[in-house]
Symmetry: C2
Subunit: 403 residues, 2 copies
């Protein structure tokens, strides 16, 4: 990261319309600016049963041991292990049977169910396969070692410890542990409230591709779509949608380019602060960023693939970070070998769609021409750094997978 | 897979209580039985905007081309490329400007926005950086090649093609494509309705760990929890909960073991068909399966870690398959090297919890003793086949990751 903060203000209110971008921020500069905006959101306390996927925001402490006392780990007979020494099929040993709710008497065993406390004196649970009950007696036909079938007090979780690390996305399995601990409510990071302002499409026949896509992506990244403002094409409409209170993040899709009706950057500059406009990214070069009051606003291109790329690198990153998640791309990654040459332009970070053919990554369309149709055929994408012209066949690259 | 169907009926109604399992189905047999139950669920048609993550159940067809006509891929001036040959900073060429809604006249250019149809005759879009408008004229200071900045008709999606493969989980990006195609409703596989019958816990201080965990896991696997029946410990209560109509899959958690109050297998045998009880899996050996009418029922152990393991291998597999998903474990996998020895018993498939230490997998607890506390410390698990005693340090194994 080499962020030259002094360069950014020059691009601040530049009107690129009918002229094109004379200079663009690097992806690194844009990322650094974004990472300096806003802090991890505050903590809220919610029902543990609703907390799957949420980010644990504070330490949870085990009040007691789990298990609370030494208990049976499986069904069987609580017993003193040393009394079973020598037992076998040809040397059955005879034990009296007693109830499990009082201390174990000598040469005696007690039926216990998994999870039940062990009677005092017992140090093992004999499995049913090693004993045969006969009325008030048990014939033991196999020895059992000390500790077999027993869960020691605090074996799973010790009182006072914090069994789940703060900052982790709670897993389904963690909800089981929280229930075991008797914790009905947990502190989690508030979900970012995201306003979507759909300022495009300018073209014909596009439908609301950006809105449909962004709603699902925001949910994936742990955000809540607070409002979707559609048809906000004019400068006043964009400005009004951006200026309203209630959102932690605002994403404007469309009207960010160099055409005469690309009003989004000017709308943001009018009601807030346009930090910069134009990023050395393809697709996605017309991305802009700024602040409306203290709320970060990301201006995403209207062309759907460019919108997606700018969301993944910038908008999604912001949402993930504010929500306490890992800000990096959330995709599963795979190291693979390049098949046909991946072509890219020096000076731009390029998002190259690829599909996997056997163990290789093959480009799908080109960064200049690809769109949603290419995207549907792709398995993932490769990020080509600005310093490279692409990747030669046989090169090892990281593929970010779409599923 | 070697499924000896003739062996299963012998285990059918075996009462293992106070005796233990004399034989168990192999994990392969259990999987094969499960895979023979039920078919992929029927198709429903839902709003495309709600379809993220759902399984596309039938072909969707592009009615028209996308784009519908040749259109501008970026903002600029629609132009005849051959007329720009020779243009440069020191040889600006002069074009008249006209509106984009009629055919392009010779030596003329038209301002277009990305996504707008190209005027007839134009074959390229000149970027703003290569032209300077001056009143009714445009000075072109750079040549542009044919096709630059142009999206050809049908370039993204051709009419009549099926751009998204049937059977795929729809991605956020696919929703953008569906919107582009003007498809407002899509056919998807119905989500399996899952009934959870919480028959345990038998022990003390467990809370409803299984219920909390299973609800989140069913959602992860694309199912809908149709009902949660709690406190169904007695045979009659389990039987009533299993016999009721309305579910595609029934999961009973708890009361599957060898203790005197392990009523779940007998309850299922009473109202339906207990196919078998006891699987060579650890944790999870007391798993059972059968049918209530035509509805598959999986009996999961009550101990939370055993419940989880049996869910992942059996219950979840069934839900994923009925819902049209890949039935295999949904976890991200990673090939890693074993650190300390992983110990396992021959004859059982063992689920060994591991955490990653550097590039290595280190066991967490043991299969016999581990529980939810160990689980919270684990990054994933290794499945040790029944034929192996474990894995030596340095062996390469597949880790199924929890996140």
């Amino acid at each position: 990261m080499s962020l030259d903060q002094t360069r950014l203000p020059q691009r601040r209110r530049e009107d690129v319309r009918l002229r094109g971008f004379s200079s663009r921020a690097s992806v690194e500069e844009a990322t650094a600016w974004l990472d300096a905006q806003g802090e991890r959101l505050s903590t809220e306390v919610i029902a543990a049963s609703e907390a799957a996927g949420r980010i644990l925001a504070g330490p949870i402490q085990a009040v007691g041991n789990v298990p609370a006392a030494g208990s049976a780990g499986e069904d069987g007979y609580a017993i003193r292990s040393r009394e079973t020494i020598g037992a076998g099929m040809y040397n059955p040993l005879r034990f009296a049977l007693q109830a499990a709710d009082s201390a174990l008497r000598p040469a005696t065993a007690a039926l216990v169910a998994a999870g039940a406390p062990l009677p005092m004196g017992a140090d093992a649970v004999l499995p049913f396969s090693a004993g045969q009950a006969d009325g008030a007696y048990l014939e033991v036909t196999g020895a059992v070692a000390e500790g077999v079938g027993v869960e020691d007090e605090g074996q799973e979780v010790r009182a006072g410890t914090t069994p789940i690390a703060t900052g982790r996305a709670l897993r389904a399995e963690d909800l089981g542990l929280l229930a075991s601990l008797g914790l009905e409510r947990v502190p989690v990071t508030r979900r970012p409230r995201v306003r979507l302002v759909i300022a495009g499409p300018k073209g014909v026949g596009r439908g609301d591709a950006d809105g449909a896509m962004l709603e699902a992506l925001v949910a994936r990244d742990g955000g809540i779509v607070e409002a979707v403002v559609r048809g906000a094409g004019a400068r006043e409409a964009i400005a009004a949608a951006v200026a309203g209170a209630g959102a932690d993040v605002i994403l404007v899709a469309g009207r960010t380019g160099t055409g005469p009706d690309d009003e989004a950057p000017l709308a943001l500059a009018g009601v807030g602060d346009l930090a910069f406009h134009g990023v050395a990214l393809r697709p996605g070069g017309s991305t802009g960023m700024g602040l409306a009051g203290a709320v970060p606003v990301v201006l995403l291109p209207g062309a759907p693939l460019a919108c997606l790329c700018a969301y993944e690198l910038f908008g999604g990153r912001l949402i993930r970070r504010l929500g306490g998640r890992d800000p990096r791309l959330p995709h599963t990654v795979q190291e693979v070998e390049v098949g046909s040459k991946i072509v890219s332009a020096v000076g731009l970070v390029e998002v190259c769609l690829v599909r996997r053919v056997g163990a290789r990554a093959e480009p799908v369309g080109s960064a200049e021409q690809a769109g949603l149709g290419s995207l549907a055929r792709a398995d993932g994408f490769v990020l080509v750094p600005a310093s490279l012209e692409g990747h030669a066949p046989g090169a090892r690259v990281t593929v970010y997978l779409y599923e």
